[in-house]
Assembly symmetry: C2
């Protein structure tokens, strides 16, 4: 087992990465201050891992709530289902919520933990690659609104992230690829050396070779932890982690939640950011190909769907959180391995990027 740390003074917490962690009560119990626990999972993950985690916590008063699976359920209504359960079972403010599932379960459960009785204890037990390398770390929680993705939420840090890599064995290929988008992202924004390693190891990673996969998760979490420790509330450098996300959110919103997986939309968005940066003369066509080839080798899309027009994309991008007084702030490349956040580009370079496919 590997242990990393997210350093946020009194809100610091550990990330554990390894095999058979869901069975390890010595790992969970120190992060649970009182008897009452609610495990929130979904109908895909619960049949596989819920009983195992309940057995691990059998010395406690454990409640469970199984949500429907999918991004389309990442709504305030679903959060309200969690509140209903918490209140029906009379869980008090010393209770602990555990998110057992992927990014959607983690985001919803984290937001419920942030807002139940003004904040209760929270543990992330991510079961997808995407959640293990990205969404479970850093305290972003929240839900979607019909008019925009992740528009409702809170920064709320977990007490611990417990990433059992065994759960990746039951992940389907499409979800594995989607998670790989966020792994690639860390290389693209701040670690060119990791990018070379990923290019070399992509076949092994997709075959779920344990050592490579654990290495990729650890390095990704290390990057995420460093960035979050420097800029918890995303006032500066943390925004780089949104590479591909503003384009990606527009794809997800435009296609309807659940059509494209989040990681798929991010991959397409990263390729669009690369093309946009090339139009600005900041990187070369070879650089763009490197990004596109790596995403393609991970089984990911490399452009927006043709059915979504540039106008529609633009409309959705304009309600993104990164819009500041009219300008759409984007993460673009100054070089591969070096990203910046900027709203300072000619509007027609964005339009032509959105029009190309």
């Amino acid at each position: 087992m590997k242990t990393l740390s997210v350093n946020l003074d009194e809100r610091s917490y550990p990330i554990y990465i390894g095999s058979a962690l869901l069975s390890n009560s010595e790992l969970f119990l120190p992060h649970i201050p009182a008897r009452q626990v609610l495990i929130v999972s979904n109908e895909t993950v619960a049949p596989l891992y819920l009983q195992q985690l309940k057995t691990t916590l059998s010395s406690l008063e454990v409640h469970e709530l199984v949500l429907p699976d999918g991004e389309q359920y990442k709504t305030l209504d679903t959060v309200n289902l969690i509140f209903d359960k918490l209140l029906q079972e009379r869980l008090n403010r010393n209770c602990t919520l555990i998110a057992l599932g992927g990014g959607v379960v983690g985001d919803i459960t984290g937001f419920a933990a942030a807002t139940y009785q003004r904040g209760v204890n929270f543990i992330q037990a991510p079961t997808t690659l995407l959640a293990q390398v990205d969404s479970s770390v850093g305290g972003k929680t929240g839900v979607n609104h019909a008019l925009g993705k992740n528009m409702i939420g809170a920064f709320y840090q977990p007490r611990a992230v417990i990433a059992d890599t065994d759960t990746l064995n039951t992940l389907d290929d499409r979800q594995l690829s989607a998670g790989m988008a966020e792994v690639i992202k860390y290389g693209l924004i701040r670690d060119a050396e990791f990018l070379d390693w990923l290019t070399a190891h992509m076949p092994k990673l997709l075959q779920r070779e344990t050592t490579s996969l654990t290495q990729a998760i650890e390095r990704s979490c290390q990057h995420k932890a460093e960035v979050v420790a420097e800029d918890e509330l995303e006032s500066g450098q943390r925004a780089l982690l949104n590479l591909g996300h503003t384009y990606g959110h527009a794809i997800e919103t435009g296609m309807g939640y659940g059509e494209w997986l989040h990681g798929e939309a991010v991959a397409a968005g990263m390729c669009m950011a690369a093309r946009h940066s090339e139009k600005l003369g900041w990187i070369t066509a070879d650089d763009v190909n490197r990004v596109v080839d790596l995403c393609a080798s991970a089984g990911l899309p490399t452009n927006k769907p043709e059915s979504l027009s540039a106008d529609e994309m633009l409309k959705h991008m304009q309600v993104d959180k990164k819009v500041v007084d009219g300008a759409i702030r984007l993460v673009l490349f100054k070089a591969i391995g070096k990203a910046i956040v900027t709203g300072d580009y000619p509007r027609d370079t964005l339009i032509s990027t959105l029009s190309a496919n």
Copy 2:
């Protein structure tokens, strides 16, 4: 104008108390960092003060949302109306929400500000005595759930509290009395001298004599600011501010939201806390009479409604946030002017307190 400060390091903020503040753009503008503003008010307050505030902010892009009036609308559904408005009008993460109204408007709007795009700028412009002396200061935001009061929420501090005392001239007598309950509370928990002053000045206060009323608001805010600065997240001493609230919440929930005003329920609760403390031998019958007489002189109820049984009260008290692993923690009196938080009392003293009227 009086200016106080809530000292919370980088989240510190001023409280302004005085006449004609809603017309003072020099007071508002420094606390609004970008052009987009949404004023949230209700159908009682908006006709009286919304236009005035809009004129004050006329150099900005000002949107407005008028909610129905009443505690029964303090729900997640109402918060969602605010999100709808914010997204329809495309307000970005640099926008400012201004709560123009009483405690309900402030709590709902504050929670929307805490959770829109993971937190946007927020100003409290309280227009009731209760909101000016209590709920607008200290960052408690949130809404009710059918199964319990204030069960959903967040700690989220405003950038400024701007309390225009002129607004109290349009407050009805019942609301003025309800606000007085929280003023009396500060005397009861930590300022016996203020309690004497209140006893002497109650007739003037109820006649809305400006000097006395401003003095009472200032002293109340000073107490609130001190307590919040010491214990922002209510891990200790801030809990004393809940004097009367656990009994009071049970009354509000039991009677249905909106039947009893919050301050009325708190006054009844404070009198019950006094009787409970007497049963424990901590204060005298004379002390109890002093509490009851002061509440009565302010036009407030001094016991729970007869229609609510002890069993019902107990049931509602058990889902209160102050329940920790089974014990109902209450604020009780060691002396008048000295309250403590405790779950350590014989259960039958609580039952007999709840049975007496």
